[in-house]
C-alpha cells in the first residue's frame, strides 16, 4: 500500500484504487478502461512512480475496527463539504476547485512553536498509521473508512502548546474565488471547528492525509484534515489552513449557524434528540436496515472519561 504526496501534475493518478485490498475491482476496471491502466500498473507492480514521493506502508492500529469497509466510491461521492457545493454529489464533481498546492498551515496562539508549516512538517510521513474508523454523520448515516494519518497529538506536541492552551481552533481554507460553495453565505465562511485540548490530544484523534491507502481526494478534505471518530462528522474539519491554541472555547461553524441544533461538543449520542434527525438509529451506507447508534459512536471505552461529570444533554 502506497501513499504519496500529490503533485499537481499527477492529480489524476490519485484516483486510482488498490483493488486487491479494497475490493474496488469494479471501479478499478472502469478506471483502467478510462486509460489509466499504465499508471495503476506502475503503482502496484513496480512500486515506482514518476512524480511524487512514496511514503512507505502505513502501520495498522489496534484502534481500527474490523467492520466491513464502505466502498471507496461511496465515501468519495457522498460528501458534506459545503465549500465544494451543498449537495452530497457536488464535492466530487467540483473537486478540482479546491487548490491544494501550494498548501501551508498557520500555527498560532499559545504555543512555543508558532509559524507556517508544510503538511510534511506536521505529519511525519514515516509514522503514518492506517485507522479504520466508523464515521457517524449527524444526518443519521454512517460509513467505515480506512484513514491514513498520525495522531493529532504527535503534531501538537511538536508545536508545544503552553498551559494557557485549553482549546485548539481549526480553520478551513477560505477561497471564494475558486470554491463554489463559498460564493453564497450559506455558512459564515471560513469554516471553523474546535476541540478541547484533551480531546485534541486523545490518541483516537487523527491528523489525516489519506484514505483507502491513497492521498486524500479533494472532496474528502485534502490535503490535511482531522478525524474525531466519536463526534458527528462535521467536527472532523477538512482542508485545514490554520491551527490556533486558545484559552476560551472557540466558535464553531455549525454551532454559530444553528446553536440549538449543533453543540460545541457534538459527541455522537443516541440519547440526545436532534430537531431534525432522531439520533437513535443510523443507516450504514450500503445497508437497508438501520442500526442502533452507539454512545460515542462505539468509542465510549476510550473517550467516556473525558466527559465524566458533565451533563451531556446540556453540553451536547
Amino acid at each position: 500500500m502506497l501513499i504519496r504526496i500529490p503533485k499537481r501534475s499527477d492529480e489524476r493518478e490519485s484516483a486510482v484504487t488498490d483493488p486487491e485490498i479494497y475490493r474496488q475491482r469494479r471501479v478499478f476496471m472502469q478506471q483502467c478502461a478510462a486509460g489509466m491502466a499504465g499508471l495503476a500498473g506502475g503503482l502496484l507492480v513496480g512500486g515506482q512512480v514518476q512524480a511524487g514521493l512514496i511514503i512507505g506502508t502505513p502501520r495498522s492500529s489496534p484502534y481500527s475496527t474490523d467492520e466491513e469497509l464502505t466502498p471507496m466510491h461511496a465515501a468519495t461521492h457522498y460528501n458534506n463539504f459545503y465549500e465544494l457545493g451543498y449537495k452530497k454529489e457536488d464535492p466530487s464533481r467540483n473537486a478540482a476547485a479546491l487548490i491544494t498546492e501550494p498548501w501551508t498551515v498557520e500555527v498560532e496562539g499559545y504555543c512555543e512553536n508558532p509559524g507556517t508549516y508544510a503538511v510534511e512538517d506536521l505529519v511525519p510521513m514515516d509514522q503514518l498509521e492506517e485507522r479504520i474508523y466508523r464515521l457517524r454523520c449527524v444526518e443519521a448515516w454512517s460509513m467505515v473508512i480506512p484513514w491514513v494519518g498520525v495522531p493529532l497529538a504527535t503534531a501538537l506536541k511538536k508545536l508545544r502548546p503552553t498551559s494557557q492552551a485549553r482549546y485548539v481552533a481549526f480553520q478551513t481554507i477560505l477561497d471564494p474565488e475558486n470554491l463554489p460553495g463559498q460564493r453564497r453565505d450559506v455558512l459564515d465562511w471560513p469554516y471553523v471547528e474546535g476541540l478541547r485540548i484533551d480531546e485534541a490530544m486523545h490518541p483516537l484523534t487523527l491528523l489525516t492525509v489519506g484514505m483507502y491507502g491513497q492521498v486524500l481526494p479533494n472532496q474528502n478534505g485534502a490535503p490535511i484534515r482531522i478525524i474525531v471518530p466519536w463526534k458527528y462528522g462535521f467536527k472532523s474539519i477538512k482542508s485545514i489552513v490554520r491551527i490556533r491554541f486558545v484559552e476560551g472555547q472557540p466558535p464553531t461553524a455549525w454551532n454559530q449557524a444553528t446553536p440549538h441544533e449543533y453543540g460545541f461538543y457534538s459527541n455522537v449520542n443516541p440519547e440526545v434528540n436532534h430537531p431534525r434527525w432522531s439520533q437513535r438509529r443510523e443507516r450504514r451506507i450500503g445497508e437497508f436496515r438501520k442500526r442502533q447508534t452507539l454512545m460515542f459512536n462505539g468509542y465510549a471505552e476510550e473517550v467516556a472519561h473525558l466527559y465524566s461529570g458533565m451533563d451531556l444533554h446540556k453540553y451536547f
Partner: protein, 201 residues
C-alpha cells in the same frame, strides 16, 4: 387548440408524462443507479415531485385566466391526484425505509420534529381532497366542494414549511418554490380592470 379531438389524446399523454418521474425512480431502484444513498434519493425525489405537482395543480386556474382556455380545467384533477400519488409514495418511503413502521418512533417524530409535523399536516389535508375528487363527490358537495378544495392552499403552505424546516443551511430551493407559490396565489387576486365594471366588493 383544445378541441374535443385534441383532448382525446392529450389526457392519456399527460397521464404518462406525469408518471415519468415514478418510472424513472423505479428504473433507478431496479438498476441501482439512485446514488450512494438510494433510499434517501427516493424520499427526496418524491417529496420534490409532490411539491411540483401541487404547484402545477395551482397553475391551472391562472393559466385558464391568462390564456382564456377554460378547457384546461379538465387536467386539474389529474395533476392534483398525481400530487397525492407522489405524496403517498413519499410518506411510504419515510414509514418504511426511515422508520420501518415503528409507530412509537413515528409518533415521537411527529411530536419532536417540526418538519415532520408540517409534512404530516400537509398530507392529511390532501386526503379529503383526493377522496372528494370524483365528479360524483363534486356534484354532491356543490358549493362546499369549492370551499373544501381551497385546503390545497393550506396543504401547499404546510408542504413549503416542511421544506424550509428540513433544510440545513441552503434555503435557495425552498425559496424558489415558495416564490412560485406566492406568484400563483397573487395571480388569483383579480385585478380590478379585468373584473366587469359593475361588480361591487
Amino acid at each position: 387548440m383544445h378541441t374535443p379531438t385534441a383532448a382525446g389524446w392529450v389526457k392519456p399523454a399527460l397521464f404518462l408524462l406525469c408518471l415519468v418521474p415514478a418510472i424513472d425512480l423505479a428504473h433507478g431502484a431496479w438498476t441501482n443507479t439512485l446514488g450512494v444513498n438510494p433510499l434517501e434519493t427516493l424520499t427526496r425525489s418524491t417529496g420534490t415531485w409532490t411539491l411540483r405537482f401541487l404547484l402545477l395543480t395551482l397553475l391551472i386556474t391562472p393559466l385558464i385566466r391568462v390564456m382564456r382556455t377554460p378547457a384546461l380545467l379538465r387536467y386539474r384533477r389529474m395533476l392534483g391526484l398525481f400530487a397525492f400519488f407522489y405524496a403517498s409514495i413519499h410518506l411510504g418511503t419515510y414509514l418504511w425505509f426511515d422508520k420501518f413502521f415503528d409507530w412509537q418512533e413515528i409518533w415521537l417524530d411527529i411530536q419532536d420534529r417540526l418538519f415532520i409535523t408540517a409534512g404530516v399536516t400537509a398530507f392529511l389535508l390532501l386526503v379529503p381532497l383526493a377522496l372528494t375528487s370524483t365528479r360524483r363527490a363534486q356534484r354532491a358537495l356543490g358549493n362546499a366542494w369549492n370551499r373544501l378544495h381551497r385546503l390545497i392552499y393550506v396543504a401547499t403552505t404546510a408542504g413549503l414549511l416542511h421544506y424550509f424546516w428540513l433544510v440545513k443551511a441552503d434555503y435557495l430551493e425552498p425559496i424558489i418554490y415558495a416564490s412560485i407559490f406566492a406568484a400563483l396565489m397573487l395571480a388569483r387576486i383579480r385585478k380590478p380592470s379585468t373584473v366587469s365594471v359593475s361588480r361591487v366588493s
